[in-house]
């Protein structure tokens, strides 16, 4: 396991949470934290901000959308200005007032937190920090729920994460029927547990053994795998010119589903809107599947064809990212894109194809 910065220097501990006390504790935390979590509706399950009377659905199988929107909403107002010329600061864009009071995301899949760590590599670098994302990150507690029944699309173990992966989580819960066993991984997680009033200590050794058993059992149930071991040694040009892209892209309809359901896709677009005496700047999720993504003001489009766009998505996730950051591929194996793609383009197949590709001379 790789310790994230926030996990370093903290001695983790275990507590048990009786399920009878769960709701009471969670409700108590609402005084301090804005809560997010899985909510089921007729269209499946989504990670949403929880209204004060809504409890997180901890028994869900898989949410259609990931937890990335908690830090990176699909539409976020980032700047605003007044257009009233009688004011001194008219037309000057200022940071929009957003609520950065503490947040907690409950019951997310451990790989969704790992995905946040990968997204962080882009939004929080030495040179540049995205203020909106970083401010939200700093106030957010990630409470993961270990996956005991991995679904058929889950290939997390072959991409360096897994059903009980602790990377970038603050608390990892294990569901043990009448209670949760919680591994507190950071001071942030500790503070959240204290706010909830969850303080029944559990034996460290026994608990760790239990976690290891659960993890191994869950990992055993993951049957879906991809091979990524050779991707690093391939040259970009060989993969770029590989012969399979045309066939692969044929069925693609260039919708944005795969990128929007992906927990690691971070691209956005900036839009300005004005109404009466006010102007706003928004950022919206963008998708490399859309021709607009790269279209220049001149009308020229360097990725003007469908096959170029499909190739870009997989090359970015499985090759460029790997080469640039040396942190594995930009995929946590959640399988959401596999399940949601309207035409069944399967990243597992693409990944294996790229991994196995040998240039023909």
């Amino acid at each position: 396991m790789i310790l994230s910065n926030k996990q370093k220097g903290y001695t983790m501990k275990f507590i048990t949470i009786d399920k009878n006390n769960w709701t009471k504790g969670i409700d108590k935390s609402r005084e301090t934290y804005q809560l997010f979590g899985p909510v089921k509706d007729e269209n499946g399950c989504l990670i949403k901000k929880l209204d004060s009377d809504v409890q997180p659905d901890m028994g869900y199988y898989e949410s259609v959308m990931s937890a990335k929107s908690v830090l990176f909403p699909q539409t976020e107002k980032i700047l605003s200005a007044s257009l009233d010329e009688s004011l001194e600061d008219h037309h000057i864009m200022k940071r929009a007032e957003n609520d950065y009071s503490p947040r907690a995301v409950l019951g997310i899949r451990p790989y969704d937190a790992k995905a946040i760590a990968l997204v962080k590599l882009n939004f929080d670098t030495k040179e540049f920090q995205d203020p909106y994302w970083c401010d939200a990150y700093d106030v957010t507690v990630f409470v993961g729920l270990g996956i005991t029944r991995p679904g058929p699309f889950d290939f997390s173990t072959s991409v360096g994460t897994g059903p009980f992966c602790e990377d970038d989580l603050d608390i990892l819960l294990a569901d043990l029927d009448d209670h949760y066993l919680a591994k507190i991984l950071t001071p942030k997680g500790d503070a959240f547990a204290i706010t909830c009033g969850f303080d029944t200590m559990a034996d460290e050794k026994e608990s760790q053994v239990l976690f290891d058993i659960l993890r191994k059992e869950a990992e055993k149930n993951i049957t879906s795998r991809v091979e990524i071991n050779k991707l690093k040694d391939k040259t970009i040009l060989d993969l770029h010119e590989a012969d399979f892209w045309d066939d692969l892209a044929f069925s693609c309809i260039n919708c944005g589903t795969c990128t929007y359901v992906c927990p690691t896709c971070w691209c956005f677009d900036i839009q300005d809107e004005a109404r009466q005496k006010q102007a706003f700047r928004f950022r919206n999720w963008d998708t490399c599947m859309s021709p607009l993504f790269t279209r220049h003001a001149t009308g020229h489009n360097p990725r003007g064809t469908k096959v170029q766009r499909v190739r870009q998505r997989f090359m970015h996730k499985l090759k460029y990212f790997l080469d640039k950051y040396d942190q594995g591929i930009m995929c946590v194996g959640c399988g959401r894109c596999v399940k949601s793609c309207p035409v069944n383009i399967d990243i597992r197949e693409v990944c294996n194809m790229m991994n196995a590709y040998e240039k023909q001379n």
């Binding site: 809107e273 109404r275 006010q278 706003f280």
Partner: protein, 53 residues
């Protein structure tokens, strides 16, 4: 189009179609008067209006 808007819950009287020649000034006035009376009667429209707050 009027039908689909109505189907989505936009009041029928907010959408008007009329054929008025440039020579029919009085018809134009009558139609505009009728439209504005009807729309005033319906009150403020809240559908298909963006809320920035």
């Amino acid at each position: 189009m009027g039908n689909l808007l109505e189907h989505m819950g936009i009041e029928r009287d907010r959408v008007h179609f009329s054929w008025i020649s440039s020579a029919e000034a009085t018809k134009f006035v009558d139609v505009v008067k009728e439209i504005s009376d009807k729309v005033k009667g319906l009150g403020l429209n809240k559908k298909f209006v963006k809320d920035y707050n």
